[in-house]
């Protein structure tokens, strides 16, 4: 049996997970999402990666981005490398894909803020 803390919300449930006859049993979760989280943690722990990318606009030098879905933990630093190589040279909307299917993870790198809006507030017309 293993104990882990669920990271999905501030409740931070203490989960107990064990396997018998190929079946996982999860205890301690206050909601069904905890069960899914615990099994994922045992088989293939995944995380959303949030970061920023460079832009060519001095007034808004960075734009926040995230992976569109969770990626395996061991892919976090390789994906960060890709993110840090991007230099955005045009405005994008929130949710727009910046890098599609990054490193074969199936996740896209998407913008989490509207660069049109940010530039507009800086008095720049994208």
């Amino acid at each position: 049996m293993r104990e882990l803390t669920c990271i999905l919300c501030p409740s931070g449930c203490q989960l107990q997970i064990s396997k018998s006859n190929g079946e996982w049993t999860v205890n301690g979760n206050l909601c069904p999402r905890g069960e899914v989280y615990a099994v994922d943690e045992m088989i293939n722990p995944k995380r959303i990666v949030c970061s920023t990318i460079k832009t060519i606009y001095p007034a808004v030098p960075r734009l926040p981005v995230k992976t569109s879905q969770k990626i395996p933990k061991e892919d976090i630093f390789p994906v960060m490398k890709v993110i840090n190589q991007v230099r955005l040279d045009h405005p994008v909307r929130r949710g727009e894909v910046i890098v599609a299917k990054v490193l074969g993870t199936g996740a896209d790198i998407v913008a989490t803020a509207d660069l049109y809006y940010l530039l507009e507030e800086e008095g720049i017309n994208g």
Partner: protein
């Protein structure tokens, strides 16, 4: 002389609290104005690029900019009057309203008046006055919020190798962020025996990256003339006094302080609003009205919240209340909400307006200590109107109670109290 513009409701601050307040005041029909000192709306969420916002409000884990983006679009779509790059320097009570002094670069210093005011001006970071620093204060010491701004907004990495003092959530988030950007975070040092931040952040920000959390430890010395070169850390005893002989020197070029947030009270205090030393913000009733009729408080200006969803919720109700105040709110008649101070770190609202027509009551609280299996009861005139059992209560996690259909009418009650008691041991 130019005519002074008059509004029903002015919302100060364009963060998540102010955005929600402006939306609900506007939707309730009040002539609304939102004032923000920065160029962009969104408040502190602009720099909180990590995910985990909106779990309750949107039932998904959004990033800070995404969460703010939704509200900003709503405010723009509605065409709610808005002043950015405008600082509210002073508020004065004038007859049946308020006179606000504003400064911005296009108009200079000028004034507007309003019948009601929503204070949504957020919180600020504590700086570590408790650290004993020898000699000159070297460069390389940042609050976690400043480090977050430098990395996420400006794209500047302020340290290559650092220690973090204090285990507040922003410090934990920054430990991960700096690590992702290639810095080495040697450890997080917390003087208390329990972490201040949420367990989920310890797991996903520290454990995921093998960053050690050193409880009962503090920085006793910062070494370096112009720039931080190293820190000395020591173990502390229960009274948080450093223990001789436990000193250890750690080489680093940066120190990140994450020692807590406090509501920004300057404007509230200038109006004479009474502040609750426990919640850090104004005393309010269930409509989020402070002791001064017409002045409302919400978001982190009211109390520092760990969930932005609650920040938006207090904003929404404060804005709606401010709008209805202008119309026809009955006179305020307050009774305190009684509680045992040994059980509750704080409870909001602190008082109850027995003339209010609304039957809904929302309470937010933090327990003073870690508690297991406790029963929280709300009693009106000594009759239990709500009870809830909690498996676990911890001070870093703010809890919310909503009573929407009271078994008895609440207007006119003489006594309202909240109690916490050990629940019956559950069989398992």
């Amino acid at each position: 002389m130019r005519a002074i513009k008059a509004y029903d409701t002015i919302v100060i601050g364009g963060g998540p609290a102010g955005l929600a307040a402006a939306l609900s005041a506007f939707e309730a029909g009040a002539e609304t104005l939102m004032i923000e000192r920065e160029k962009r709306l969104g408040g502190i969420l602009k720099q909180c690029i990590h995910d985990g916002f909106g779990i309750i409000r949107f039932n998904q884990a959004l990033t800070g900019p995404e969460y703010a983006g939704w509200y900003i679009e709503m405010v723009k779509k509605r065409g709610i009057p808005l002043l950015t790059k405008t600082f509210v320097t002073e508020i004065e009570q004038r007859g049946d309203g308020f006179r606000l002094s504003l400064v911005n670069s296009s108009e200079g210093l000028y004034q507007v008046i309003s019948k009601s005011i929503v204070l949504a001006n957020g919180c600020r970071e504590r700086t570590a006055r408790q650290i004993f620093i020898h000699g000159s204060r070297p460069a390389g010491v940042y609050t976690a919020g400043t480090a977050q701004y430098l990395v996420n907004i400006l794209g500047y990495l302020p340290t290559k190798r650092c220690v973090i003092l204090g285990s507040g959530d922003i410090g934990l988030i920054m430990a991960r962020r700096l690590t992702l950007e290639g810095a080495k975070v040697v450890g997080v040092y917390e003087a208390k025996a329990t972490p201040s931040g949420l367990e989920r952040n310890i797991v996903q920000c520290l454990d995921d990256y093998d960053i050690p959390l050193k409880l009962s430890h503090t920085i006793t010395r910062i070494i370096g003339e112009d720039r931080v070169e190293a820190v000395e850390v020591s173990r502390v005893d229960q009274t948080m006094s450093p223990l001789k002989g436990t000193e250890q020197v750690i080489e680093c070029d940066g120190v990140i302080l994450s020692v807590g947030l406090i509501p920004e009270n300057e404007l509230a205090e200038s109006l004479g609003v009474r502040i609750d030393p426990r919640s850090g913000g104004p005393y309010v009733d269930q409509s989020f009205m402070t002791g001064i009729p017409g002045v409302f408080s919400c978001g982190n200006a009211l109390t520092v919240s760990d969930l932005v969803d609650y920040v938006s919720e207090t904003g929404k109700y404060a804005g709606a209340s401010a709008a209805s105040f202008v119309k026809d709110l009955p006179a305020q008649e307050l009774i305190p909400i009684e509680k045992n101070e040994a059980d509750f770190l704080y409870l909001i609202p602190q008082c109850f307006n027995i003339n209010a027509v609304e039957q809904r009551l929302i309470l937010y609280f933090r327990s003073r200590e870690n508690r297991e299996n406790v029963q929280v009861k709300v009693l009106a005139d000594h009759q239990v109107i709500y009870q809830q059992r909690y498996q676990k209560l911890i001070p870093p996690e703010m809890k919310r109670i909503e009573i929407d259909s009271c078994p008895k009418p609440l207007n006119g009650i003489r006594d309202l109290r909240v109690e916490m008691e050990e629940g019956a041991k559950c069989e398992s």
